[in-house]
Amino acid sequence: MGVKLLLDKAHVPGIRFFETYRKEGGYKAVEKALKQMNPASIVEEVKKSGVRGRGGAGFPAGMKWSFIAKPEGVPRHLVCNADESEPGTFKDRYLMEFLPHLLIEGLIISSFALGSNDTYIYIRGEYAWIVDILEQAIDEAHANGFLGKNILGTGFDCNIYVQRGAGAYICGEETALIESLEGKRGNPRIKPPFPAIEGLWKRPTVVNNVETLAAVVPIINMGGDEYAKIGVGRSTGTKLISACGNINKPGVYEIDMTISVEEFLYSDEYCGGIANGKRLKACIPGGSSVPILPANLLLKTAKGETRLMNYESLSDGGFASGSMMGSGGFIVLDEDQCIVKNTYTLARFYRHESCGQCSPCREGTGWMEKILKNIDTGKGKMSDIDLLWDIQRKIEGNTICPLGDAAAWPVAAAIRHFRDEFEWHVNHPEEAQKRNYGLAHYADPIHVPA
């Protein structure tokens, strides 16, 4: 049994409500932070903890906090990114649905540390019922003096507002989120200036993922150094993984990043193995935008080491033979799944969600989708595969925001690892409509130059 810091109380009946949460030891971290610590020491603790942003990029949260500009007389803001729209990721939903007070507690501490008196939760529009849960939690916190004016007699004022998005994936990108929060069209801004200098209403702003902010509570409770002892290397603390796909036990799991992918996938404590006794074909380990990995590269790195569920190990080997931790959306594909169809589905998603601001992403995502549709429906040509590769290469890195990269990586990885499946689709257009290419030789280790 691994360490649980976030979900340890998730199954206590009524933990959603203030009284139960308080009885179970909740809001102790707020008392400790506001009464015994000052903003600088909280930032220092978070830095020491080494907690990395849980939203996907994995940027150290303490570092991000220390970048915030502090001009005289300008309010600062903390924004909680609850716009969890990545296909395959649903960890924040679980956290907010069952432990809303954990998030509120983390938000109060973080607001105190950053000097934000008005803090916003930007929540995905589709999570309509969670808005009610959060607002109820905020009301309860207000009634008990943890929010509002002069919290716990410390003179610190803080209000939390919940803002619903309107159903755009792109608004999960922090600058697009800020634009949307300001009431504008959710187009990502051109960086620099980064939000820490010029964010919401041109004020210094920090945008953090739900899970990152929730993790602040155990960090304050146990101290940054203790928190950093959990996990391996630079992957400290615990991480929520939302596992889905062809597994026996889909769901949200908290792991301490020391377990291997094999253990996570096959042990009964976590995913419980591949459903229906099938074999593993491939896996997208960090949400739809990270590169897909074939079975052999998922369980072992190209160097032959056991792959662990943490930031470093999952990205071992770069994109040639590795992937990314991403946002922790663990999507498992069994031998019956078609990689071409899977890639087409993802390309369709990114085409639909591209904001249309910069040309490579706007035009490139649509083009890739059309080509993949042709290959999938048996109208593809052999040259289309090279064309796809060329298109993704020209999108990646040339766009304003990471959505371009996120659209390019899945296509690139699918072609890199499963090129013969694409070729089989082109060569056997009729057969491809009836059956799947199957496992082929992906269980065999491939040679990766050192």
Binding site: R185, G356, R362, N398
Partner: protein, 365 residues
């Protein structure tokens, strides 16, 4: 002004000194010529413009004197400010050329390639860009995205099929006029420029959106399909206008004024915004005081002939070899130097017989 520090920035092996806060693009424009990256969405007069089309991507091979690390990604030169000692590669970088070719291809896949029937042909920035960077054929084998034409009022027509979503017209309407006139609806490759439920654009300065449009998406209905721009003679003129500066370019054929536009500089940007009255209503020569011929260098087709090479005096001459690093770029204007037929130094009237191809050969022996 107090002492402002000057930053040294080297672009394509040419060093220039610019004030702090200048963007790479503007520094490159100071050098001029082919060193300046193309810009489809950036417009120096519009706040917030730029960064969208990605044609101006450049490689920063040295960040600054203090921090010489190169930037990992290509950056949009129109929105990246220079640092002291920065070294930038534009046309000397194969990565940049490759990425730019990709961007041009992306811009063209949904753009109708019907320049012969497009009103913008001859002064279209996308046309120029695809001459320089485009491929002869397309790899896009699908139906192109199309939209219906919309009339935004009785003077301006919007044809979204041609639009490349540079947002220039949106910024123009926002910044020149008092209220928000139009914006972008929808998302991704089906995004479109639109007014609020087909409302008209109604403002004294709204005609300027036609001038800022880099392609033929916004056209002047008082001029549309009346004539091709390369048949018209641009002349500078002015009038005493109560609302705007009154400094315009008239596009004449004979004595007839076909259209009135604002004056554009060598980067295709408007020098002074003009009002709708000047643009749409004053189409008599008697309305205007003629100043003289307008010199145009930027655009491909209208610049052919006697207008070529008369503007843009700040082209780098001495460092041409250094700039191109041995490569021979495709120069649209230099048709005379490669063509054996179209030699400007041969006067046909001096021949006493019909011209033969041998007359045009430079080395006749």
């Amino acid at each position: 002004m107090s002492e402002q520090p000057l930053f040294k920035v080297t672009i394509d092996n040419i060093t220039v000194e610019v004030p702090a806060g200048t963007t790479i693009l503007n520094a490159a424009r100071k050098i001029g010529g082919d060193v300046a990256p193309p810009a489809m969405c950036y417009y120096s007069k519009l706040e917030g413009s730029g960064g969208k089309c990605r044609t101006c991507l450049v490689e920063v091979s040295k960040g600054s004197e203090k921090d010489p690390r190169p930037m990992p990604k290509l950056v949009a030169s129109c929105r990246t400010t220079v640092m002291d000692g920065m070294e930038v590669k534009n046309i000397t970088s194969d990565r940049v050329i490759d990425a730019r070719n990709g961007v041009v291809e992306f811009l063209l896949i949904n753009h109708p390639l019907d320049c012969p029937v497009c009103d913008q042909a001859g002064e279209c920035h996308l046309q120029d860009l695809s001459y320089d960077h485009g491929k002869a054929g397309t790899r896009f084998e699908f139906q192109r995205r199309t939209f219906k034409k919309h009339d935004l009022g009785d003077k301006i027509q919007l044809h979204m099929t041609r639009c490349i979503l540079c947002y220039r017209c949106v910024f123009t309407a926002d910044q020149l006029t008092g209220k928000r006139e139009h914006g972008v609806l929808d998302r991704g490759d089906h995004a479109e420029i639109a007014t609020f439920i087909e409302k008209n654009l109604d403002n004294e300065f709204i005609g300027n959106v036609i001038d800022v449009c880099p392609v033929g998406a916004l056209t002047d209905k008082t001029f549309r399909f009346k004539n091709r721009v390369w048949f018209l003679k641009p002349v500078d003129a002015h009038r005493d206008c109560p609302t705007c500066s009154g400094k315009v370019t008239l596009w004449n054929r004979g004595d007839e004024v076909y259209r009135v536009t604002a004056r554009k500089d060598q980067w295709g940007e408007v020098e002074d915004w003009i009002c709708n009255t000047c643009r749409f209503d004053k189409k008599q020569t008697s309305d205007w005081v003629i100043e003289g011929p307008r010199l145009i260098d930027r655009h491909s087709v209208i610049a052919q002939g006697h207008y070529a090479g008369t503007v843009g005096t700040n082209k780098p001459k001495e460092t041409f070899k250094a700039v191109h690093a041995g490569r021979q770029p495709k120069l649209l204007m230099d048709i005379h130097s490669v063509s054996e037929v179209n030699q400007p130094n041969i006067t046909l009237s001096q021949l006493d017989r019909p011209a033969h191809s041998t007359d045009f050969k430079q080395n006749k022996d």
